[in-house]
Symmetry: C2
């Protein structure tokens, strides 16, 4: 008898995670080994609550729309699986569910914390001698997963951020008044997204003129000095800054507002506002801070074709790798060439990935710590390329019906 598959999504949304889901669905549909593909609603919690939907019969039209639909068709969760030693019951409950549904392979699409779940479930499967295969499909706009050249969702977010900053530069250049515009970009610990702001530059505009990443200690005095050096030649200065910049002692700029989420990560906000006040006080020029809002992770209206294609392939390939009997892995991207850009989809042991983070290498940040290097641009450039035809209805972007989540 053919086995079934189960897929779920977890963590923060991206504009590309549904493309990976589409890849998994299509992979199972094309498979001779597997029968049905179920989706678990709200991540692994759907398993614990017996909330799944059957995705087996979805047609190509659905797949095409799913690829372009932002956020998560199956919903998400922020659920940290306890250690086996602390709560074996929950693992038994999950594997009982797998057995009842005749699941042969489980695919979890997510980031760092989701790969922790994949690693734990794999370890449990081994410990009980289960043949159920557990696979991770990467996802995060932050691009901070190790063992993969880059992560799905990053390219689309990077494209959105670079485009937004270019457009904000157009907005800013119109006034004949000295100004500083501070643009705050997501990225708690890794500066990849903020680095992507460099792609906003053109042959006539150097905006963003300054870029600050969390990988280099932020010094307020140096920042003011950087602005002072630029002002005589640059009327309208655009600064891209990561929400996660901190001083040499590791204190976030907006530390007073920091609280911790379930995974112990600090919730940041107000870095741009904090710098806005600093500039107002010290330089007295016109200053504005702009927070690139949640659209940087869910702007289905502007995605990178490269990103969506790769995201689909990472999901599709995950199914193929399990068909060969592999488990406890995360699919990954191996870059084989920068120009022309090419890459291969491979897989890596998930234990290598879980709970680790990839920071921007220091040598891809300039010596002064206020810009990125040409190597970074070479790395980033291919990831944002290619446009996807967005569906519009009555003038507004139109995506798949997600009433099952509402």
């Amino acid at each position: 008898m053919k086995m079934n598959c189960l897929v779920a999504q977890s963590g923060g949304p991206t504009a590309a995670i549904n493309a990976s889901l589409a890849g998994v669905i299509k992979g199972v549909q094309d498979s001779d080994k597997y029968d049905k593909i179920y989706g678990s609603i709200h991540g692994i919690q759907g398993v614990l609550r017996n909330k799944t939907i059957d995705l087996t019969g979805k047609d190509q039209d659905f797949i095409n729309n799913l690829i372009k639909t932002p956020a998560m068709y199956l919903g998400s969760c922020r659920f940290k699986l306890p250690d086996m030693a602390d709560n074996k019951d929950i693992y038994e409950e999950i594997f009982n569910f797998f057995n009842t549904m005749n699941i042969g392979a489980f695919f979890y699409i997510g980031g760092n914390d989701s790969m922790d779940t994949v690693a734990k479930l794999s370890k449990y499967a081994t410990s009980i001698g289960s043949n159920i295969l557990i696979a991770g499909v990467p996802k995060t706009i932050d691009n901070d997963l190790i063992e993969t050249d880059h992560t799905p969702g990053f390219g689309s977010a990077a494209k959105y951020i670079a485009t937004s900053i270019r457009e904000i530069a157009y907005d800013t250049y119109i006034y004949d008044v000295e100004s500083v515009t501070i643009i705050e970009v997501m990225g708690r610990d890794a500066g990849w997204l903020t680095a992507a702001s460099a792609l906003a530059r053109t042959n006539f505009s150097k905006a963003p003129h300054l870029i600050y990443l969390p990988e280099v200690a932020f010094d307020k005095e140096q920042f003011i000095s950087d602005l002072q050096s630029l002002l005589p030649t640059t009327r309208n200065i655009i600064v891209a800054v990561s929400e996660g910049i901190r001083d040499k002692d590791g204190n976030y700029l907006s530390a007073t507002e920091a609280a911790a989420d379930k995974f112990g990560h600090a919730q940041l906000s107000g870095t741009g506002k904090c710098l806005e006040n600093l500039v107002k006080e010290r330089l007295g020029v016109k200053v504005r801070s702009v927070e690139v809002n949640v659209l940087q992770r869910c702007a289905g209206h502007m995605t990178s074709k490269t990103d969506l294609d790769e995201s689909f392939n990472l999901g599709y390939s995950a199914v193929k790798f399990t068909e060969d009997g592999n488990s406890a892995f995360m699919t990954s991207i191996v870059r084989t060439s920068d120009a022309p850009y090419s890459c291969e989809i491979k897989f890596t042991p998930v234990a290598n990935v879980a709970n680790k983070a990839k920071e921007v290498p220091r040598q891809w940040i300039n010596q002064e710590g206020n810009d990125v290097t040409a190597d970074m641009i070479t790395y980033l450039s291919p990831l944002v390329k290619g446009e996807v035809d967005t569906n519009y209805k009555d003038g507004i972007t139109s995506y798949l019906d997600i009433s099952h989540l509402i």
Copy 2:
């Protein structure tokens, strides 16, 4: 001898104001009456500083790219022309410049304050018996100019806001946790842009569930009560709120942060943040505020074709109207039918428009003051329709070179 024309842009940027500029340039190019078309850099200040550029020979490729380029190709200013009685010299200086350049018609593309300049220059021209024709071309994302069905730039901003809110709703619906998301939209005195958030609704999603405009006094207790009524049936509530909402005594919610700009308008920020704190304190649910940032006025990557077409025609027609000898007017849009949508370009005496504002009529807001009516939707719907092919280069939106402003 044929006369020349001069054009300038003023006020805040929009994604459509360059389409009106393109219309003026094309109108002059097609004219038998006019010879050259000059552009004044940084609004009327370019006249006072003798900073103009010759736009006469620009080809169709330039015109096509100009239509799609956001913000202001000629730059802007926030310059309030003094009253004639207070400073006659400045008027003499301006008209001397006009005469030196052999200007037969001056076109000023802008909003409320710019129409004040048009009215004052027209009045001065009459007072000295000058034959120079002065014309206004409307522009403002706020849609608050009277004597025109709607304003250029509004449709594109409305499309951006509705799309953003729809995408933020997708982002929000993924979590199985009660939440309130407050989205702050521009609009100091008029709620048109915030009203456009209603276009984000689909046949399965009612987001935004609540809409608050500045035209109705905002009551914090009523707001909390509105949320409490919804929470039992609506897990993820999305609220659209204008930056300009104020209480029954006319105090802005974020009044402590209010300062005045050169025209005496209060500078607002933090309305969403203020409500976020209120909800956190009173309801204890997960809450987030999102400020739709300056992209709502400069997102060249997502414009309304209806808006850009009309903006072009308003500029083009302004030239034609002056060819017939008209002066002291603003071109305007007269709607002739809602469905199918049709409108005509006419003109109206600029004195009727200057320094007046068009608020949302009370009957287009529901009785409870927390939503808009079907009549509002009928009015708004055609304005966001149609998409424009954005130019992308290396994955990022690509617009005209504006190095003359930098």
